[in-house]
Symmetry: C2
Subunit: 489 residues, 2 copies
């Protein structure tokens, strides 16, 4: 147990905040609801971002940048959309400050804008306004654009990374000449989301479709990846929307087909955000702090030397430097922590807190015996190995940890997905924690009542649902869908 961290089992929320604060991932900004992502947290985000970016580009997408500011009237053009975002907007109304007679800074009333401006909560409206200018014919399609940006959704109950007024994300916005292609795109992206979650974040996710009540404001269908956190609650980790022709109609974006007809353009949009950092913390963290999968760990191998003075440090460096260079040349992110006046024990705690997947320890005992001690963060096991094998061993170990962390998280998730046969059982499990896979009659009303009574929501209608012979857990009627229920962040 690391100093100063509330144990996870004792108070999950406090543990979460402690990890973020003590591992220096993020801090609270001065405006309520805002967040500062500190360098270590941002380094993780950069690795996550780079992997998504690589996969988007490999599938033909380009990055672009659209304005932060959206005219108020745009938001109103798609009815569901404005409904979904109206209550959480930052609204710009003026463009100048002035100094009043008391020499205090005031908003200059004469700078009032003709039309108020919305700070983007998402960019469908401004992007479809531009797409109207860019799309004339089928030859202009598809458009496959992504942007990395900040968005703002006013939040009262802040939780770092999970729920903040401003967050960083990517938002893809694609335009297509037919429905099939747009749906295919929507699902292709969901597949990338799942793939990066599994293979890089070591985070198992369930995939499926959202119910009408839970889908994106303006979508025909919303698909999602849902993950189970360490407290058995669900987190929506990414969404991909098939938008049909909704935004094309709202912004009058038609194209000339190959047969010289006119048709509205079909669309998708999709996003993942810095919320994923919160997911990583909660899926993998333990009482000692963060545990990072090697793929997204800013420091994959930390080297901690035991030394009392510069002379001793020099001897250790002579011993280890060639191996450090070799690991580094292989593309492994390795760091020698030779900070003076800090005990190795202190450094051990700090790097366990920060979740570095492996640690190499070297003192004179290791040098005498031509060995090195290797610590793995996932299982906290230590092993003393021959120094000659350190390169292969460490490199294999990183792969092994990456795989093991996925297996651990996957076992945990599968162990905590339950089938139930009565609503009492349902409530009991929702209270204790876990996902429930059961039948639902497909009505908004049952969904709403279950939410009111238990706080559980339908996380998704899984792609592999088997609704036949199931009954709705609430009404007992024949199930329309098999769904996943859980309390969610």
């Amino acid at each position: 147990m690391s100093k100063g961290i509330t144990p996870k089992s004792e108070d999950h929320n406090k543990w979460y905040t402690d990890v973020i604060t003590k591992a220096e991932l993020a801090d609270y900004g001065p405006v309520k609801g805002t967040m500062v992502i500190k360098p270590y947290g941002f380094a993780i985000w950069e690795l996550v971002k780079d992997e998504f970016d690589r996969q988007f580009k490999a599938t033909g997408h380009s990055n672009a940048y659209f304005p932060l500011f959206i005219p108020k009237s745009f938001l109103a053009k798609e009815a569901d959309h404005v409904e979904g975002f109206a209550k959480e907007c930052a609204i710009v109304t003026h463009s100048r400050l002035m100094t009043d007679e008391d020499n205090t800074i005031q908003v200059d009333p004469s700078s009032k804008l003709e039309e108020e401006i919305i700070v983007r909560p998402t960019s469908e409206t401004v992007i479809w306004h531009m797409y109207k200018k860019w799309i004339n014919s089928y030859r202009d399609l598809p458009i496959l654009i992504n942007q990395w940006a900040n968005v703002v959704r006013w939040e009262m109950r802040t939780r770092l990374f999970l729920r903040t007024s401003e967050f960083l994300w990517q938002e893809g916005h694609t335009a297509h000449s037919n429905k099939d292609e747009a749906v295919e795109e929507t699902l292709k992206i969901l597949d990338i989301y799942k793939n990066v979650s599994h293979n890089h974040l070591a985070m198992p996710v369930l995939t499926g479709r959202k119910t009408n009540a839970e889908k994106f404001a303006g979508a025909v269908d919303t698909y999602c990846i849902e993950a189970m956190m360490g407290d058995k609650r669900a987190l929506q980790a990414g969404t991909s929307h098939y938008l049909g022709q909704n935004f094309a109609k709202a912004f009058d974006v038609k194209f000339q087909t190959e047969n010289n007809n006119e048709e509205y353009v079909f669309a998708s949009s999709w996003g993942v955000s810095t919320r994923l950092i919160g997911a990583i913390i909660m899926v993998h963290g333990d009482d000692s702090g963060l545990r990072l999968p090697p793929s997204i760990a800013p420091t994959q191998v930390v080297v901690v030397p035991f030394f009392k003075n510069d002379d001793e440090l020099k001897k250790i460096k002579d011993y280890i430097d060639p191996y450090i260079h070799q690991l580094s040349n292989m593309g492994i992110r390795v760091l020698l922590d030779d900070r003076p006046k800090m005990s190795p024990g202190f450094k051990f705690n700090e790097w366990e807190l920060k979740g570095a997947p492996t640690r190499l320890e070297i003192g004179f005992k290791e040098i005498e015996n031509n060995t090195i001690t290797v610590f793995r963060r996932d299982t906290k096991q230590k092993e003393n190995i021959s120094i000659d094998s350190v390169i292969t061993y460490t490199s294999n170990l990183l792969d092994n940890i990456q795989d093991n962390m996925f297996v651990q998280a996957n076992d945990f998730m599968n162990k905590n997905i339950f089938s139930v046969s009565t609503y009492d059982e349902f409530k009991n499990i929702i209270n204790k924690g876990g996902f429930i896979r059961c039948g639902w009659d497909g009505s908004d009303e049952s969904e709403k009542k279950i939410k009111e009574e238990t706080k559980a929501t339908i996380r998704c209608i899984p792609f592999d649902e088997k609704p036949d012979n199931l009954n709705c857990i609430f009404t007992g009627k024949p199930a329309k869908h098999e769904v996943i229920f859980a309390k969610a962040y």
Copy 2:
């Protein structure tokens, strides 16, 4: 001369906008003053950004992210700072929209914020608010943080990339325990700016210090890189500020020194922005459009085949594909433009417009003779070479173009920096275009009057100034500094 582009010599402003529009670099956003960076423009920005990012990280800097929103009161804390930014702020005053009786969307008056929020024009204030929380002792220093972000400065006269209400940039904010280290940091960054400009953007820059009138609002000293555009006007391409203890005092950020004293922290801040894309266009562009230095060209080599049908295309591909793969494996960004139903001539124009540094042309004549035709965009020369030598030739050619474009731009700049001995001569040259290197008496008043009379400003006091024996070009008094005057963007 490419279709639809105004010749540069005829109307430089219109030429500039034409290049941006026709090469699909950017477009105007719906809110006045905002800009959309289109995929091709953004791909250039990504290459520029990646190079800066690499160099910042190599010199010990980390990225982080601070909030977009700044409390109004923060801006007022540093007197010069608020003076500098008060007149161009986007101010958030409300947080909700509502539907009124006419079913139109209105700002909900009940959502008025207690304190208005400023959308960051730059982040010194919010960052120094955080640094107060993070800095206690000399052990916490230095802090070397950079962020890539959007900022907003209300603009009435929009010019794409050069002057927009929102733009993308990086802003570095460092904190140090002493003046020397902070000044050293300020200059180290200026050196990176110069280095990337010269070696990657192929854009020669003059370096020096800004006058008091031109320095950053809140800085002790502002250092800059200044470039000469194709119309001989100056563009401030990057600035690095030594902030002294100004922001530390405004935000009460003290630290405990090694000797157990208390002192205010010393600071630097520095930035380059998407304005650099505008500079690249204006330094290198010609009547055919953009010319991109290979280092920042999204497509370094475009391959244009001459074919009439799929069969012919297949034969050409069989011939060229192995070489394309080889170039690609060497890290060269190569693209085969095999779009059907488009003439090679059309593609030539398009890629010249988009500034691809080299073009490989292949028809059956080339295949028969085992050759390939190579076109270089910088000089528009064509050469027919043996196919066996295409890899070495192209790879060397890219280096050669990179160097040549710098030499061309540098010659142009040097040819257009003038010495003058009278104020009449000064006015004459400022009117015709060019930089003037001359004496200045150091007074705000002369500087102001020259600006009023000629629109020329002091771009910088160059590091290699030699003010001895010079007189002020305006007052005739002994010069305090040798300076560079020019009309600027």
